[in-house]
């Protein structure tokens, strides 16, 4: 998949030089020349916030990715490499030294210094500021002193400025993949102008955020309508190939799709499911797919005794025909999952759940009955997310293959479902989705399955697993860490606290007016690669 995509992208410039792309499918009227000053139009939903430490949904981080330049970005193998940072190094995985590249300036002319990073991170970690992404700083020493209603401190003790372009980050525990984290939205710097007083964000900053990235704001954020950015000429890093971007806000993907078909919009990031069957004919090779970081699972309340045996859980997994469901219900917009981590992170291995991922009704039934699985299975889901079809299909498979009764129960919202689960009410199996925060195996394992994991709703607890995770964090280098994480994943395969079902995919499309449209690991359009066609 990935290899094929890379090959396609390397082939494309070649094809361009050979003049193979000059004749479009008609209707674009373009000469195929790159237009370096055109603005491209990209679909987003209304962002919730445009402050780096407060933005944790794709639309907001898509806009911020234009306005800010990250410390690190990820290469083809999903390994981090420096962008705004000169180097990110550590000898013991506890104290990390971040050196910044010289020459970066904010869009208001301020020079970027270490202070800008410290200010932004301290602001984000300080609990009373109520920032959505404050948990990204929890690995930094002193984080707990910034929590609670009246925190003991206002700044993280682990952050130290060395000189204008260098600062050190001391972690409370060694963590080998800290560098990987730094590519995320939460770690962008903030200019002095963003604060009205030390530690107080200026009113209205997020209406026109000032960053140090390849684009700067054009006007202000026009809520529910659009956010426009234009190329920032003093940007020292890799220059974008377009003059600007208009992030146009859509309420429904179907409307955006209609606009892409008629060249009124350049990129749609998520093609609606109802259009997927025709997207290939509508758009031809302008319809593209790439792996996304999301993972859909069926979570199993392991604290209920009817599901306490791993054999019961494995049998249910075996009785589900993943390939059939992804094909018939999702029209191949998602990929069957047989691992606990996504293919977009380094260390991913195919098919880690082994036999539990093989569709084998006869074996599943025998195993289920031998282990004394319950006669009736309930699958709970949130009714507002379009999950009904696949839940019902899964239920029908369980009925047919295990000979049990099965019902799908819809809760109005995921929040309602979570409330019930947290109160340990019986909801049967329930669906869950996970989108990574930063590209590391640990992010797919720690929050979900460690004993005190923030999203461990099914009561899974395995001391051996916790130990391996802690060892992975302390490992001397990334390779060694990945080894530990893989061992931890193998433990999950034995216990099956959740049943991996499907990996997400970006199903995106573009108009005849752009080319080189690619999605990054965070499901954002890569704004440095996209080109406009005359």
């Amino acid at each position: 998949m990935r290899v094929r995509r890379l090959a396609a992208w390397t082939a494309l410039p070649l094809a361009v030089t050979l003049g193979l792309v000059a004749c479009g499918s008609g209707g674009d009227g373009g000469s195929g020349q790159r237009d370096p000053n055109a603005a491209v139009r990209i679909e987003i939903a209304e962002p919730q916030h445009l402050v780096p430490t407060n933005t944790n949904e794709t639309s907001g981080s898509q806009v911020l990715s234009a306005l800010f330049s990250p410390l690190v970005d990820y290469d083809g193998a999903n390994k981090p490499h420096e962008v705004a940072a000169q180097s990110v190094t550590s000898s013991d995985n506890t104290v990390w030294t971040v050196k910044l590249k010289d020459g970066y300036t904010f869009h208001n002319g301020e020079k970027v210094t270490a202070d800008n990073y410290l200010d932004a991170w301290n602001y984000g970690a300080y609990a009373p500021n109520g920032q959505n992404s404050s948990y990204f700083f929890e690995k930094i020493a002193g984080y707990e002193n910034l929590q609670g209603e009246k925190p003991k401190a206002k700044t993280l003790s682990g952050l130290k400025k060395v000189d204008d372009l260098t600062f050190t980050v001391k972690l409370s525990e060694p963590y080998s993949e800290f560098k990987s984290m730094l590519g995320y939205t939460a770690f962008y710097p903030l200019p002095k102008a963003a604060f009205s007083a030390p530690g107080v964000l200026a009113e209205g900053y997020e209406q026109a955020p000032i960053g140090q990235g390849p684009f700067r704001m054009k006007g202000t954020w026009q809520h529910d309508a659009k956010v426009e950015v234009t190329r920032y000429d003093a940007f020292p890093g890799e220059k974008p190939k377009v003059g600007g971007v208009e992030f146009r806000i859509y309420q429904q993907p179907t409307a955006a799709y209609a606009d892409v078909l008629s060249d009124n919009l350049d990129v749609i990031k998520t093609i609606p499911t109802e259009n997927l069957s025709t997207a290939a004919t509508d758009l031809g090779d302008r319809f593209q797919q790439s792996p996304a970081s999301s993972l859909q699972v069926l979570a199993i309340p392991t604290f209920q005794k009817e599901f306490a045996k791993p054999e019961v859980r494995k049998a249910i997994s075996m009785a589900i025909d993943r390939d059939e469901i992804t094909k018939s219900i999702f029209k191949d917009s998602q990929q069957p999952a047989r691992s606990f981590v996504s293919p977009v992170v380094a260390g991913y291995r195919e098919n880690t759940i082994g036999t539990a991922g093989e569709f084998d009704p006869a074996k599943a039934k025998a195993m289920y009955e031998a282990a004394g699985g319950p006669k009736k299975i309930e699958l709970s889901y949130n009714g507002d997310g379009g999950h009904k079809d696949w839940v019902d299909a899964t239920c029908n498979q369980l009925k047919a293959n295990l000979g049990v009764e099965c019902v799908g129960t819809a809760e109005p919202k995921f929040a309602d479902l979570l409330t019930k689960v947290k109160q340990k009410q019986s909801v049967g199996l329930f669906r869950m989705g996970w989108v990574m925060d930063y590209p590391s195996m640990e992010n797919y394992l720690g929050p979900l399955y460690s004993t005190n994991g923030s999203s461990n709703y099914y009561g899974y607890s395995n001391p051996e697993f916790d130990k391996l995770l802690a060892e992975g964090a302390k490992a001397p280098n990334e390779e060694a860490a990945i080894k530990k994480y893989q061992a931890a994943e193998d433990l999950l395969a034995e216990d099956m606290p959740v049943i991996p079902l499907r990996f997400g995919q970006n199903n995106f499309g573009h108009s005849t007016k752009v080319r080189n449209v690619e999605m990054d690991l965070f499901d954002r359009v890569d704004l440095l690669k996209i080109e406009a066609v005359k």
Binding site: Q48, H49, N56, E57, A127, P128, N129, G130, Q131, N132, S134, Y135, Q147, E149, Q222, H223, D224, A225, K226, R248, I249, Y250, Q251, Q252, T254, A255, A256, A258, D259, L261, S262, N264, N382, D384, G385, P412, K413, F414, A415, D416, L418, T419, M432, G433, V435, P447, S454, S455
Partner: protein, 312 residues
């Protein structure tokens, strides 16, 4: 007449506060976990939860909590402060951005209804059982039978994408032309109703005694229909249109979604989905005012249309 209007205006104030109370209570009762609703499926950190709970008094529950929050809301409302939505936007800003475009859309839909619906209705009423009459009846039946959820995407695909007569979506600051298609789609339903209403009413009045009298006095047909019949026939139609104006503004959720118009319907939908009580109450309050005013205008129009109706 003046006293009548004044009395109605005073009633409006009461109705306004009554509705805010009821809507606020409904939103309050239906409130699950707005903070989680805002975050979707992502886990909410304790810090974030504490911050929002304190900021919006979400910890005030039960009857006491309800009155505490409702009175707090009213106090701010009387100072002209509609409050903030959960993402920290001023609700007054949201409304200021949403209303103009919805009003434009509703007016276009209204114009389409009056222009085509009422005219065709009169024609069909005069020529009962003609080809024109029968074909409009069949057509309106068809339109009434197709739900907006089908009609809107279909119109968008055929007229916007396939034949490129209109832009497929209108967006936030559309020009008149871009609003035409959604306006027609939105208006088509009320157009069909208005047409059938006008037709029946005209047909009925044509058989009335005063029409026979006018004919025997030798009045020209144009004057009989244009002045005598039409004025009397419009009373039920005007009633319908008055109520419909409010419906067009609040009920455009599907049309606004399909044509990507961030108007009132869309914001109402969003407010309900994210359990944003203040936002819903703010929008509904304004809608209530629209209904009340248009009802008053309808009542006053009665008197203009039919001299027999005069208010004391």
């Amino acid at each position: 007449m003046f006293r009548f209007i004044l009395r109605r205006l005073l009633q409006m104030v009461l109705a306004f506060f009554g509705t805010t109370l009821i809507v606020y209570a409904l939103m309050f009762a239906g409130q699950g976990d707005p903070i989680q609703a805002l975050a979707g499926e992502r886990p909410v950190t304790a810090a974030q939860r504490a911050y929002l709970t304190e900021k919006y008094h979400l910890d005030a529950t039960g009857v006491g909590g309800f009155f505490y929050r409702y009175l707090d809301y009213l106090k701010n409302l009387l100072q002209g402060d509609l409050g903030q939505s959960l993402t920290g936007r001023q609700i007054s800003d949201v409304l200021a951005a949403a209303w103009p475009v919805t009003v434009q859309l509703a007016l276009i839909a209204m114009a389409v209804t009056v222009l085509f619906g009422v005219t065709a209705g009169v024609l069909a009423g005069i020529r009962r059982a003609s080809i024109f009459d029968n074909s409009t009846l069949v057509l309106t039946l068809l339109v009434l039978g197709i739900p907006t959820i089908v009609l809107a995407p279909l119109a968008q695909y055929l007229l916007g994408v396939k034949w490129q007569l209109f832009p497929p979506t209108a967006g936030a600051e559309p020009d008149l032309y871009a609003l035409l298609l959604p306006g027609i789609v939105l208006g088509s339903l009320s157009l069909a109703t208005a047409l059938r209403l006008t037709r029946t009413s005209v047909a009925e009045n044509l058989r009335a005694d005063y029409v026979r009298t006018a004919r025997s006095k030798g009045l020209v047909k144009r004057r009989i229909v244009g002045v005598h019949v039409l004025r009397n026939s419009l009373i039920p139609v005007v009633t319908f249109l008055g109520v419909e104006l409010g419906n067009l503004m609040s009920g455009a959720i599907i049309t606004e979604g399909v044509f990507n118009i961030p108007g009132v319907g869309f914001n109402l939908f969003r407010g309900i989905r994210t359990e944003d009580g203040p936002l819903v109450v703010g929008i509904v309050s304004v809608l209530v005012v629209v209904y009340l005013v248009s009802n008053l205008v309808v009542d006053v129009l009665y008197a203009v249309l039919d001299p027999r109706i005069r208010y004391e």
